[in-house]
């Protein structure tokens, strides 16, 4: 459960202009500015996009250039391969435009995650879902599912590495099955316990009053019970 902050942790605290810009505006800017770069694929737009986002991140968000370029490092092998491939099949222009467009998008996405706390990003996602309410979406339950998911990741990562150690101790380190089966079985049991805990507070259930609900919360499967063969 600890390390929960770390997961939402691309955020770099600050008080720059971009840190203070509302999320909706930033998102619009990032999507609005990177989409044409990807669609048009001309050297000029790609170059403009790269310059724009480098400036936004260094000046607008006051991040050191090293940190900004660092965002591209994990993608470098793929970008380099794409550049080589494009050069050989379609010439130098494509070798700049194809990986360049992807780099612009990486910078744009990083701009959002670096200047916005993770929880705010998730709240933003929920706000995006809100208009879909008329189509039967339920933003509150979506938000609840998101927060349970975020809280469960560190738990499951921990349980994966614990069981990896346990499998090693029994000489089973080469059998992924021996590691993953208990993780998934634990995950199901854990999900059912969490479901009970939510139900005990009247949370997580749809809000239509006319619907029959209930059953199934109890009488859930227990690991001991074997199915009745038919």
């Amino acid at each position: 459960m600890r390390g929960h902050g770390q997961l939402l942790g691309l955020y770099v605290p600050g008080r720059s202009l971009l840190h203070r810009t509302p999320l909706a505006l930033k998102a619009l800017l990032c999507v609005g500015a990177s989409t044409p770069v990807v669609l048009i694929r001309q050297p000029l737009t790609t170059a403009a996009g790269l310059v724009l986002f480098l400036l936004l991140m260094t000046v607008g968000a006051r991040l050191p250039l090293r940190k900004v370029l660092g965002a591209l490092v994990p993608a470098l092998p793929v970008l380099a391969l794409l550049a080589l491939y494009s050069w050989f099949t379609r010439g130098p222009e494509a070798a700049f435009v194809v990986p360049g467009g992807i780099a612009v998008c990486i910078l744009a996405a990083r701009l959002l995650t670096v200047t916005t706390p993770g929880q705010e990003l998730l709240d933003g996602l929920v706000r995006l879902v809100r208009p879909l309410r008329r189509l039967g979406a339920d933003p509150e339950r979506f938000a609840l599912a998101l927060s349970i998911m975020v809280r469960s990741i560190p738990y499951l990562v921990g349980s994966l590495s614990d069981l990896r150690d346990a499998a090693k101790a029994r000489g089973l380190q080469r059998s992924p099955r021996a590691v993953v089966v208990p993780v998934v079985v634990n995950a199901v049991a854990y999900a059912q316990a969490t479901g009970q805990a939510l139900a005990a507070r009247g949370l997580g259930e749809h809000s239509d009053a006319d619907d029959e609900a209930g059953e199934g919360v109890d009488g859930e499967d227990s690991p001991d019970a074997d199915g009745r063969g038919v």
Partner: protein, 230 residues
């Protein structure tokens, strides 16, 4: 008002037949504080779970303020909060602040208002200073206080507590008892502690899945002690 009408619970047994967990019972529970005592396996927890629909009756029915738990389970669970014996199976979020805000989600839309209200709830239980501490770093008593706080934060009309002091030391037990005594809601709890059981307006004694005594707490305790010696 909680009403049991010939409600019974049976579970499939290993031999293919069925096992009765709770024999048909008809009850009206309207008192402010009701305690339930009985040996392990006497059906206490099942009786409690029937009230908020975590368990559904195999025959007969249970209703809360006229709402049938089988058909209007969602609404019933909004009215009836359930506190588990083990607070760790109740708390869903990594810190108390997040957990109480989860409870408030349905009623308070704005994140900043939710934050203030959440803090107020925690402070009213004397655990405001623990708001950002991991729930795993809390003592058993602090955890149980938090569990009661997050369940009560949903503002249920009825609060059910299944052996809320069993895992606690004497000092913490007194704190939890004082908190439960101070709640404005109808409170129904099970316990093995006979002085805690007498701290109520009405006591049910269960034995082998039947309600064998129903009435004055002092008489109920005397009856139960007699029963245990037999």
């Amino acid at each position: 008002m909680i009403r049991f009408t010939d409600a019974s619970v049976t579970a499939p047994a290993d031999d293919g037949g069925s096992r009765t967990i709770l024999h048909p019972v008809t009850l009206e529970l309207g008192e402010h504080r009701i305690s339930v005592i009985g040996a392990n396996g006497s059906g206490k927890s099942t009786l409690l779970k029937l009230i908020n629909g975590l368990t559904l009756p195999t025959s007969g029915s249970v209703s809360v303020d006229g709402l049938d738990t089988a058909r209007r389970g969602t609404e019933v669970r909004r009215k009836v909060g359930f506190v588990f014996t083990d607070p760790l199976s109740q708390l869903v979020m990594p810190t108390g602040r997040e957990d109480v805000e989860l409870s408030l989600r349905g009623r308070i839309r704005r994140a900043d208002e939710r934050r203030t209200a959440g803090m107020r709830v925690l402070e009213s239980y004397g655990i405001g200073h623990l708001a950002d501490r991991s729930i795993y770093d809390l003592s058993g008593g602090e955890r149980q206080l938090l569990a009661i706080a997050v369940v009560a934060a949903v503002e249920p009309a009825v609060l059910i507590a299944d052996e809320p002091t069993t895992l606690l030391d004497l000092r913490n037990e007194h704190t939890i008892r004082a908190v439960l005594r101070g709640l404005p809601q109808q409170v129904i709890f099970t316990t093995h502690n006979l002085s805690f059981a007498q701290d109520s307006d009405r006591t049910l004694v269960l034995d082998g899945g039947r309600v064998v005594f129903d009435g004055d707490p002092a008489e109920a305790v005397a009856f139960y002690q007699e029963l245990c010696l037999r």
